[in-house]
């Protein structure tokens, strides 16, 4: 019963996992952004409300990906996997919009 002759593959999990403190700071930042989203709903800015909300959402997503998912520090494989997830989400959104944006308005005679 030899050890496997195949070259062992190891999962290199980045330099080090994020510390408890950085996790907590990320949490605080996320909560702050959540507050900002809720707050912005009370300020009428027209179409800019949507822009602001999407911007905040992107910021939140980046925090989660960079700190919680360690995408910045970990191996490129992990980034690739995460990107595949995004590509699939983009697919859902794109083909979903293909429906929503091309619906013909109903006009009576």
């Amino acid at each position: 019963m030899n050890a496997r002759t195949r070259q062992p593959r190891s999962h290199r999990s980045g330099p080090r996992p994020p510390s408890l403190a950085s996790n907590l700071w990320a949490l605080v930042a996320l909560l702050a952004l959540l507050g900002l989203t809720a707050g912005s709903a009370f300020i009428p800015m027209g179409a800019f409300n949507t822009v602001a909300n999407v911007g905040i959402a992107v910021a939140k997503a980046l925090i989660v990906m960079i700190i919680y998912m360690r995408l910045a520090t970990d191996s490129p494989l992990l980034r690739m996997v995460a990107m595949a997830g995004f590509a699939w989400l983009a697919l859902l959104v794109a083909l979903g919009l293909a429906d929503l944006l091309t619906r013909v308005p109903l006009l009576g005679s």
């Binding site: 019963m1 030899n2 496997r4 002759t5 195949r6 593959r9 595949a84 997830g85 699939w88 697919l91 859902l92 083909l95 979903g96 293909a98 429906d99 929503l100 944006l101 091309t102 619906r103 013909v104």
Partner: protein, 546 residues
Amino acid sequence: MTATDAAGGNYLLAGNTLRSWLLTHDHKRIAILYTAGITFFFLCGGVAAALIRLELVTPAGDLMSPETYNKAFTFHGVVMVWFFLVPSIPATLGNFLLPLMIGARDVAFPRLNLFSFYLYAGGGLFTIACLLAGGVDTGWTFYTPFSTMFSNTHVMLAVVGVFIVGFSSILTGINFIVTIHTLRTRGMTWFRLPLFVWSLYGVALVMVLATPVLAMTLALIALERLFGIGLFDPALGGDPVLFQHFFWFYSHPAVYIMILPAMGLVSELITAGARRRIFGYNFMVYSLLGISVVGFFVWGHHMFVAGQSMYASIVFSILSFMIGVFSAIKVFNWTASLYKGDITFSAWMIYALGFVGLFMLGGLTGIFVAAVALDVGLTDTYFVVSHFHYIMVGGSVMAYLGGIHFWWPKITGRMYPEMWARFAAILMFFGFNLTFFPQYLLGVAGMPRRYQSYAPQFQVLNVLSSAGASLLAVAYLMPLAYLLWSLRYGARAGANPWRAAGLEWKTTSPPPVRNFGEPPVVEGGPYDYPVPTAKVRATRPEPAGP
């Protein structure tokens, strides 16, 4: 059972306490736990199906109340889709065979494997609880706003059950991907993988990429029911069709979760039955992967009449035709693999050939409903019901049972009674066609699905279908009976009773706990037929004699 080599004894004898089964990390034992689970749910779903067919013998809804009928077909759908078909081949045969086929000792994450079984069991408990509490009547599709605002039944319990079982399938997917990437034995290059392993790889990708969307969609249903957030509620500015986009983004690829492993599995059976290499291995691999990927682009074909834009429908239609091309390649290649073969019609070969025939009928009718103009008339009728039963039952279930027969000696170390098995397989083929072919005609005649009572002109065909269903029920119960019988009374099987190629046949039956003594080394491609009987290379530990 005398396999006492370094690989450990026969896995079945490695402990017979309840604890040794329930807390096992052995992929083979987990596969058996799964088999018990899905058999249980198959029987549950089957009882619901029997009730449905019984109700539909007469045009009037006179056997049960409309609510009960609606709950019966919902239960049938939920259980059969998420608790039988999705885990059926990957979690049982896939779990058992994947490490064996690539020459590994176990999957990459044995504990995760056990955990995913318990998630499956947990989800199952919620579903059973839902049934006991009174059931759910939304249909397995949970369409909004019916499921969110109008159903008074236990939608939440069902949604939670499916939500949980979804994670089981994600974890299985991750486990398989990592296993195939990292644990292939020496010489097992990607293009030497058996097609069954390729199909598990494709399925695992689909599971990992699609199932999270299901979880999200179900969570939104729950939020909508609990808090009325209004995403799908037109009265609050939501869009019910958005739900259908989300739902089918998972549920169409889910169809490929059900059928892809069946395709891979049947490739194994046909090559073993014909003692011939698969015709066009590379094309088989590419078409498998093609279906896995393109399968994500076609979900809108469920929504041609749902209020989707006509332009989106055209896009989804052409993409759906592409799936047809990939499937055609497979059917033709299976047929061509018989050429110059040395064909024996064992029970599992009958299942495999039955699969090819039924899958072809299901696939061809899929082309009908991919054509938008025809789908307008046929969708939501029995034509569609029959179409997907041909794929899922005629396809997946036939393949699953064929696989169970083929690997039964490997899994249990026992032979089943061959004549009974052939009889059951043939009965199943004819019973299936008698059940579901009339349903094509019903759809063409215009009978909508999910009808408890129907117009009298549909009765003849419904009676035929119900008659077929009773044959089918017998055909499904027979394997259950004789396979259980064989566990005790069956003849002992040698390491390779079918003289099949493939690494799993090079170890003992049943395999030892760690699968192989020495890690096997692969020197050639898969399906290395014909294998001269006398010259099976015995580089592996001595097969346990009967």
